[in-house]
Symmetry: C2
Subunit: 317 residues, 2 copies
């Protein structure tokens, strides 16, 4: 079970999202009081869900000082696989086919062509020529069924034209297969020190469409964009290569970000999947939420923190 | 996946609680506006979680008019079992042993001695003499592993002195095993037309202690109490037999309810697991929540519904 609230929550495909495992909180309120929300039970129906109101509120309603986390049994077995495809579309179709075959992986990570180039250059990984996309797939559970699930996953990969398919035989090989995904962000930073990172999420079935639109946006604004992320839940980390000292780069990136968010909302996604709104996305919140919704959120903020002492300037402009 | 928000959510043990499957809502606000919270993605981090604030708010913050629900694949196989024990303690220990053996059932329902008596009288079910408790256990998943999981469950039941263990061979037999659980509430109403129903939840590991305390409370107030519910998540439906026209009965029941809630809170549970606070539990909310927590909830209520037109009198006294 992942315990970080916003970093890669690899197990979200099978086990749901991290916040569902948070049963209770200790919070210091804007009034300086200490409250305990939720508790040690999985269920409760005793008033408003202050636990979930606090989670994702980005410190604007209080400071979380303790968490009660639900634990689940460690899986008895685990299997790690990677598959390389010619195109992002092939990889995305594979994701749909895997889920349609009733295999629910714990990990289903996607890396696009530009991400793979950075990884290849940085980690000296061997990858087929012209690798267009990679999937990192992990399943867990009773060892008896893992072989059969592996068979179904392999079938889905090959059906969609995978040019390479690897299964880790042991922990060392598994770590090796994870290398590309774990190295994606550091590798990119090495080659693109000034990258801008966004964190969009779209319904899983429109990932291929979103990837196409990202390519078109990169072309339109003469930029290089690399994406990787959790294909199992539609969350894509979109990275734009820029020289932050170059005003032209930054202007074009700014326009591209607007287009990316516009496409995301059109495809019924959200402009942040994990990282939140903070300061940098606050100007775009109206692309996502209606005035009524923002009004309700602000009313809650004003009611709980009338002096606006908790992380002022975050989320709302 | 269960879709009712408050009726028995049988699959909560393996798949988490129902509210985790609600991704978005359409809500009519107290101001008469229609808002859409959340959306079609499993994750999003765009402002406060209005979806979860609305769920469980018992109509006091708005009226929910649509739900977006996350679907998961139907399981490929399923197996239903029942086990009868001499005592509630034996059944509760079995629940712990099953979970410790890394089997995570989709259903783990508990029926106590008095519930079984009502069921037996009403449904003409055959049960061993002096049945002290019953567990209804259901597992699902790949058919290959169900036999092995059945073996582990049977072992846990027999180790804890089960006097009867049944496995359904088919759908008809499975429906038959479900008969006692499905008939629990109707059977009880037949014999105890004036019953008072509570809906507590405690951490799973203290169910045996809670069951003991319920027995002691029944003795102390000269009442009959029957409990059944979701042993997998600690949720117990506690039923008190009363004649509602008998002032003495009602007074003793009132005292018993206070004791039940006191024990529940002492054991770090909650006075409602599913049904909510409404009017009847509003006087007891201060046993559960601190003044600060209630203050925060009331501040939210006042901010979103300043004219108090949404379900006035519910949750807060």
């Amino acid at each position: 079970m992942p315990i970080s609230l916003d970093s890669p929550s690899y197990q979200e495909v099978k086990y749901g999202v991290t916040r569902d495992y948070i049963l209770g909180l200790e919070v210091v309120t804007p009034a300086g009081e200490i409250i305990n929300t939720g508790g040690k039970t999985v269920k409760r129906a005793t008033g408003y869900d202050l636990t979930r109101l606090m989670i994702g509120s980005e410190g604007t309603l209080g400071i979380i000082t303790k968490l009660i986390i639900r634990l689940i049994p460690l899986p008895e077995g685990k299997k790690t696989m990677t598959a390389v495809f010619r195109s992002a579309e092939d990889a995305a179709r594979t994701v749909s086919d895997i889920i349609r075959s009733k295999v629910v992986p714990t990990t289903l990570e996607f890396l696009d062509r530009n991400t793979l180039s950075c990884v290849k250059g940085s980690l000296e990984m061997e990858l087929p020529e012209n690798s267009g996309a990679m999937l990192l797939i992990e399943i867990d559970g009773d060892p008896m069924i893992l072989d059969r699930q592996e068979g179904r996953i392999k079938e889905a990969c090959l059906k969609n034209g995978a040019v390479e398919f690897n299964v880790a035989a042991n922990k060392v090989e598994s770590d090796n297969l994870w290398k590309a995904r774990r190295g994606a962000s550091p590798s990119m930073l090495k080659f693109w020190p000034g990258k801008i990172s966004e964190d969009i999420v779209v319904p899983r079935n429109v990932i291929p469409e979103m990837v196409k639109r990202l390519d078109a946006i990169a072309d339109r604004h003469n930029l290089t964009i690399a994406s990787f992320g959790h294909a199992g839940d539609g969350n894509l980390h979109v990275n734009i290569k820029v020289d932050k000292k170059n005003a032209g780069d930054m202007k074009r990136a700014d326009e591209a970000i607007k287009d990316i968010f516009k496409a995301t909302v059109e495809l019924e996604g959200a402009i942040s999947g994990e990282h939140g709104i903070g300061i940098s996305k606050a100007p775009y919140l109206r692309m996502q939420l209606s005035d009524s919704e923002i009004g309700m959120m602000k009313a809650i903020k004003n009611a709980l923190d009338p002096n606006n002492i908790m992380n002022p300037g975050k989320i709302f402009t």
